[in-house]
């Protein structure tokens, strides 16, 4: 036994490794990314980043078809992308365990919605396991593989941001199960694995029977635990909400559900019969609450606790006081001095970010920008105020095409990053060429999946486990899709970006601009950082450089005598020397790298 202080994500990686997982596939997405990053260096495991979650699900299903334990990892919205595959895997079952590790994001710390993916489990008849801390995140992995193999079903391990990103003590075995088979083999079973209607009709009753058997299994599943204490209040809770329940109601009877689909009907009836008032504490949807009500058991949940956002003990306590479950005296006093309005500090494009200049140019040309998911979304804040739409991974191009086909006169462009382009942008780009709209697509190729913390992708030439591979070439790829007008520009060169955009807009045909420049935070790029400087004599405080929205360009204490406006100053601790501001300055008051070099030499 090893005693470790692990995040939920690290614990899942340990649990997966010890379970003998052979193949693991994922697309990075907060809060799930660290799971594969932690698993990848472990021995005897194959782990990869896929272009998207659907591919990851297929890869994992294939490995499980071939008799190897496999897992697919994704954030909640990734399962929307992978849903088609999730459903067939639920229909076919597999030859070895298949676990889908899914991380929901209550409060949308880093997401566009807070969908509750337990719904998918019920939708597809897939059991759902939920840990309440890292120890259980670790222990539920082998449990998930065992259930998967015993019942011939994929199993979802559902995490939330708080479980994924909290560290708690874990006792780990530190040993890996022996391989299931020396050499994996492929067992042909077309009736089971070819989902043509005739076969699928045979499989549907099988999965309905399977979920009924799983309901029985849930009654004795050791992670469903009933603690009877004070019988005046009974609480059913799951995930991190269980911890809040324990903290706020130390005396209450609690039924912890480690399996939230299917629920243990007998256990719930037994628990309900032993307590006077039954409540459910769960984050997001009233999922358990609805399951309990379907059993004909009265229960309260979302009438007391919020459906939106994350819970914490304070929210649970206040809600309980309002509902009369706790006395007023239980309230924890909170001091709320009048702070007025504090200057906000939202996440912003970093100093030196190559995306910044592209948006400066689209603004200059007054273009409507359909954006996508990635760092560039952060440009929507002032002063850049672009993109103007952003829905989900890969949406930018299709939306821009639709806007164009609706007959709008203003020109609009699509903007997305390299990894998002590989993820779901490619079919949409093919559509622009095929159905011929005048959409210009800007692929912001910063040579890495930056938003989630610099993961490799098909453009980087490296795999998750550090193998060299062929980096995809964008130009031949988009040309073969049917694009004749293709520009490649340096994102740092505003003139190049503007000329290419103007050419595409005038041509009025399908066009692609690949705006290339490495993320400024890459280690090899950091070595080239060189802070620029403002020539105070030349600067007249016109303020144009502030419109690029770089944190390194700040107002100086020195005021220009003529204009009465503060001059610009560059924070040497932040500036990387990208020179976007220098190109914007009409008076050439920001000294470039070359000019600084000359001064040094002189």
């Amino acid at each position: 036994m090893l005693r470790k202080f692990l995040s939920g994500n690290e614990a899942v990686a340990w649990g997966a490794w010890e379970s003998g997982v052979r193949v693991a596939a994922a697309y990075p997405g907060t809060p799930s990314t660290e799971i594969l990053e932690n698993l990848a260096p472990m021995p005897h495991v194959y782990a990869e980043w896929c272009p998207n979650e659907k591919v990851a699900m297929d890869v994992a299903a294939g490995a499980a078809y071939a008799g190897s334990r496999a897992m697919a990892v994704m954030k909640h919205v990734g399962l929307n992308v992978a849903a088609d595959s999730f459903f067939y895997a639920a229909m076919t079952g597999m030859e070895a365990g298949l676990v889908i590790v899914n991380a929901d994001d209550p409060f949308m710390h880093s997401s566009q919605n807070e969908q509750d993916n337990r719904r998918y489990c019920k939708f597809a008849r897939v059991p759902c396991l939920e840990p309440t801390d890292s120890q259980e995140a670790y222990a539920l992995m082998p449990a998930a593989f065992e259930i998967s193999e015993r019942f011939d079903t994929p199993v979802m391990l559902r995490l939330t941001t708080r479980i994924s990103h909290s560290n708690t003590l874990v006792e780990v075995q530190g040993t890996r199960l022996p391989e299931r088979a020396e050499t994996p083999s492929y067992r042909v079973d077309s009736i089971k694995y070819v989902m043509v209607p005739g076969n699928a009709r045979r499989r549907h009753p099988v999965i309905e029977e399977r979920i009924a058997k799983l309901s029985e299994f849930a009654e004795t599943f050791p992670f469903n635990q009933m603690q009877i204490k004070d019988r005046s209040l009974g609480i059913v809770a799951n995930g991190v909400a269980y911890q809040y329940a324990c903290e706020v109601f130390p005396e209450a009877s609690i039924l912890k559900l480690g399996m939230t689909y299917p629920v243990p009907a007998g256990m719930l009836r037994e628990f309900a019969s032993q307590v006077r008032r039954l409540i459910v504490i769960e984050e997001l949807d009233p999922f358990i609450e609805e399951e309990i009500r379907l059993l004909g058991i009265p229960a309260e949940g979302k009438s007391i606790f919020p459906i939106c956002g994350e819970l914490d003990q304070q929210i649970v306590r206040e809600s309980a006081i309002r509902a009369g479950l706790l006395p007023e005296s239980a309230r924890v006093p909170v001091s709320r001095p009048d702070k007025g309005t504090l200057p906000p500090r939202p996440p912003i494009l970093c100093p030196g970010c190559p995306h910044r200049g592209v948006f400066f140019v689209t603004n200059k040309l007054k273009l409507v920008v359909n954006g996508d998911i990635g760092c560039y979304t952060l440009a929507f804040l002032p002063p850049l105020n672009a993109p103007h739409t952003c829905g989900c991974m890969g949406a930018s191009i299709g939306v821009a095409h639709g806007v164009a086909k609706a007959g709008v006169r203003e020109r609009n462009v699509a903007v997305l990053g390299d990894s998002t382009f590989f993820h779901t942008g490619m079919p949409a780009l093919l559509n622009v060429a095929y159905n011929k709209s005048n959409v210009t697509t800007l692929i912001l190729d910063n040579r890495v999946t930056a938003m989630t913390g610099h993961q490799d992708n098909p453009g980087t030439g490296r795999t998750l486990q550090g193998q060299q591979t062929t980096p995809v070439e964008f130009e031949p790829l988009v040309r073969s899709m049917g694009f004749q007008r293709v520009h490649t520009v340096d994102s740092y060169n505003l003139r190049q970006v503007e000329d290419a955009l103007k050419d595409c807009l005038e041509a009025n045909e399908p066009a692609v601009i690949i705006a290339r420049r490495e993320c400024a935070l890459m280690p090899e790029v950091r070595k080239r950082w060189l802070p620029l400087r403002v020539d105070e004599e030349r600067c007249n405080g016109c303020g144009l450089c502030f419109r690029v929205g770089c944190p390194a360009v700040v107002k100086s204490d020195v005021v220009d005598a003529k204009s009465g406006k503060p001059k610009a100053r560059i924070d040497p601790l932040l500036c990387t020397g990208c020179e976007i501001c220098a190109q914007v300055c009409a008076r050439k008051a920001i000294l470039t790298r070359a000019q600084l070099g000359e001064k040094e030499a002189a």
Binding site: F5, N167, L169, Q243, Q313, V334, S335, R345, K555, D571
Partner: protein, 205 residues
């Protein structure tokens, strides 16, 4: 306040080293044989956004988060961020403020005003008198590297926990910094501890 059960809130700006500091706090709690949970709340802030970490020590810790009004100790790495999280503090909480400003974009571009020290002190003063300024960056700079200011703050904090040996803190720091920065960080820790000791602030317990 008993040292047995402590809620530590750490707040700062992405890239300031709050995560390392919270890892050290967690390790020290574990080393004392306590149950510990730690949670990071950083949203999309890879760089430049507000970040907080929650570390809880206790005989048995349930929630990984600290609720409003529950923070016993607040370690703040940037002055403005102190105000952003004051409602997390319980009355009389211990607050250490790094005397350091990182201007948000809206301040450096001239749209918003950065709160002055008086306003910070009067707002904090309505909740606790037990707050202390730490010259974290100045001390770290005098040792040759401003980035060690997070460890200066930990050193200052250690003064308030006389029952935790300095060696335990230093070991937790050593395990988490690159080997070439071990000596710098040890000196940063001791500088922070000595500075707080010299101020005559009263230890907890």
């Amino acid at each position: 306040m008993s040292v047995r059960k402590v809620n530590f809130l750490l707040a700062g700006v992405g890239g300031q080293g709050t995560i390392l500091a919270s890892d050290v706090l967690a390790a020290v709690g574990l080393q004392k044989g306590l149950d510990v949970k730690k949670s990071e709340v950083h949203g999309m802030a890879q760089r430049g956004g507000s970040v907080t970490s929650h570390v809880r020590w206790g005989p048995k810790v349930y929630s990984p988060l600290i609720g409003l009004g529950e923070a016993d100790v607040f370690l703040c790495f940037e002055k403005l961020e102190t105000l952003r999280h004051v409602e997390m503090l319980r009355q009389g909480a211990l607050v250490l403020i790094n005397d350091y400003v990182i201007s948000p974009l809206s301040v450096s571009s001239g749209t918003d005003q950065y709160p002055d020290d008086e306003r910070i002190q009067s707002l904090l003063g309505s909740i606790t008198s037990n707050y202390h300024w730490v010259p974290g960056v100045a001390l770290a700079e005098s040792l040759g590297n401003a980035r060690a200011n997070n460890v200066v703050l930990l050193g200052a904090l250690s003064h308030f926990f006389p029952d935790v040996e300095t060696a335990a803190w230093l070991e937790a720091v050593r395990e988490r910094v690159p080997s070439k920065f071990v000596e710098l960080n040890e000196r940063a820790f001791l500088a922070g501890r000595d500075d707080m000791r010299a101020s005559g602030a009263k230890p907890l317990v």
